[in-house]
Amino acid sequence: MTTIETDLVDYEDATDRYDPVLGIEVHVELGTATKMFDGAPNIFAADPNTAITPVSLGLPGTLPVVNEKAVEYAIRIGLALNCEIAESCRFARKQYFYPDLTKNFQTSQYDEPIAHDGWVDVELEDGEIVRVEIERAHMEEDAGKSTHVGGSGRIQGATHSLVDYNRAGVPLVEIVTRPIPGVGKRAPEVAAAYVRTLRDIFRSLDVSEARMERGNVRADVNVSLRESAEAPLGTRTETKNVNSFRSIDRTVRYEISRQAGILDAGQHVVQETRHFHEEDGHTSAGRVKSDAEDYRYFPEPDLVPVAPSREWVEQLRATLPELPAARRRRLREEWGFSDLEMRDVVNAGALDVIEATVESGTSAQSARKWWMGELARTASEQGVELDELAATPAQIAELQGLIDEKKINDKIARQVLGKVLEGSGDPSAIVESEGLAVVSDDSVLTGAVDQAIADNPDVVAKIQGGKVQAIGALIGPIMKATRGQADAGRVREIIMEKLGVQG
């Protein structure tokens, strides 16, 4: 196979002169207990070829039976994406030969998807909303997992391959957009934000763990370029299995630059599947599938049609949870955040932890201050998400509670947080065991005040002469003497009393 190398056109230049159009297919693995067509457990990590039944292996004489829960989840996804739910739909056999399919066909849906004609609003980082039209969402099964042996571990050059069918038959819903026009330079951002929006919806519907890094959500990204928004659609390429938001962004960016180079050279973009390479962000042509377009779909004879009653559909519609966009609007109002504050919170992935902290009794602004400040910095240093930090929302609420009760001050609180993040336990326990509570015991403070007054006669004279603001020069040494634990307010009061001045 030869690769035609083309010059990449600078992204800005490419998007000045060409109009990109996107199309995205997202596969989501459903979080059912069992597989789509048999009772094998739907689990991520197990010894190879143990989460299988004879049906998962497609052994002769076995018959599939549809998992009702998977149908329910598919309908819930369809409803959340504002789709029509089919009155009746069938499964179909999609036939191709590949070792990760034991039956030589994938049980899928063809001309009768369970959900069709919907839309979803995608919010970009600056608040702009792009409406993406959904063509269809259909049910199908996942394939097994192959490991290639010999060569560089890739399929090319391998001497043979090993197949584990634990994933074979895991329920999938594939969601296909209509072409997404009019996004211009924001195409990479729109593509990533769309998949993120779906991921968030899957999670709020509780139909999937939707973990990108585990391949629960996988995107195939179609990109084409045309001369102008009025021109007919150009030839598209489809980059398969792009598995992180950043990679989706990079894929679109690269394909726009690459296709612009081909078009600038007066050549034609080849319609093909491509692969994204994480290490340097380029895409390369996939295997040429001469018979790829000939899947010879036909209705699956072993499965009768699925005809969801309108009562069932309406019942599922009525029990849809609050979806992410509505939740963001509600929380912004409840918390009294500005649009900008809310956007930063959402972009930082801090919504859930702040909500949990507020639910544990902290004010929204205090919760925001912690999670967007000290904790965001720590997460970024450690290269983890906020919810992966050792500090939990309950602990942050407890920490803020200690400040609100004036048991500790802000400075000590940061010290305590450091220990919580090291996994040393809950804030109250740390304050207790380390003796970090604010000292407001007058007998202790009075001694420290007396010492400071004795050590600083000049300052005392200034204060008594009317320069009350000079009191800070006395408080400083006292805080130092008490390792920052003195209740500064109480210290001030004691000094004023001792020196007989009014604040």
């Binding site: 009772g39 457990p41 190879p48 070829n49 998992n67 001497t159």
Partner: protein, 101 residues
């Protein structure tokens, strides 16, 4: 009523290729003839199936045959691999999928 198109040798060769079945030239010629007979038989059904008769994929008028989402017995790895010509590391070993790039 349109006649169904005849199945030629090229069609048989392509079908065999899609189905990964190796056919000799003689077999291709023989199957082309047999397919024609089958197509003729199907065409006679089309003569009585007027437009108001919906295409039938399932002869039994039944829908929504579901099972509950409950885990059933599974195979052990040993059982799963018992019919495999080759196995390695608990996995089915299959021949090279693609040649060199």
């Amino acid at each position: 009523m349109d006649l169904m198109p005849a199945i030629g040798r090229e069609d048989v060769a392509r079908l065999a290729d899609l189905a990964r079945i190796q056919l000799s030239d003689d077999e291709i010629a023989r199957y082309a003839g047999e397919f024609d007979a089958i197509m003729d038989a199907v065409a006679s059904v089309s003569e009585v199936a007027t437009e108001d008769v919906p295409a039938t994929s399932h002869p039994i008028p039944m829908t929504n045959v579901f099972r509950t989402d409950v885990v059933t017995a599974t195979l052990t790895q040993e059982e799963a691999l018992s019919g495999a010509p080759e196995a390695e590391d608990g996995r089915f070993e299959v021949p090279q999928i693609l040649g060199e790039e």
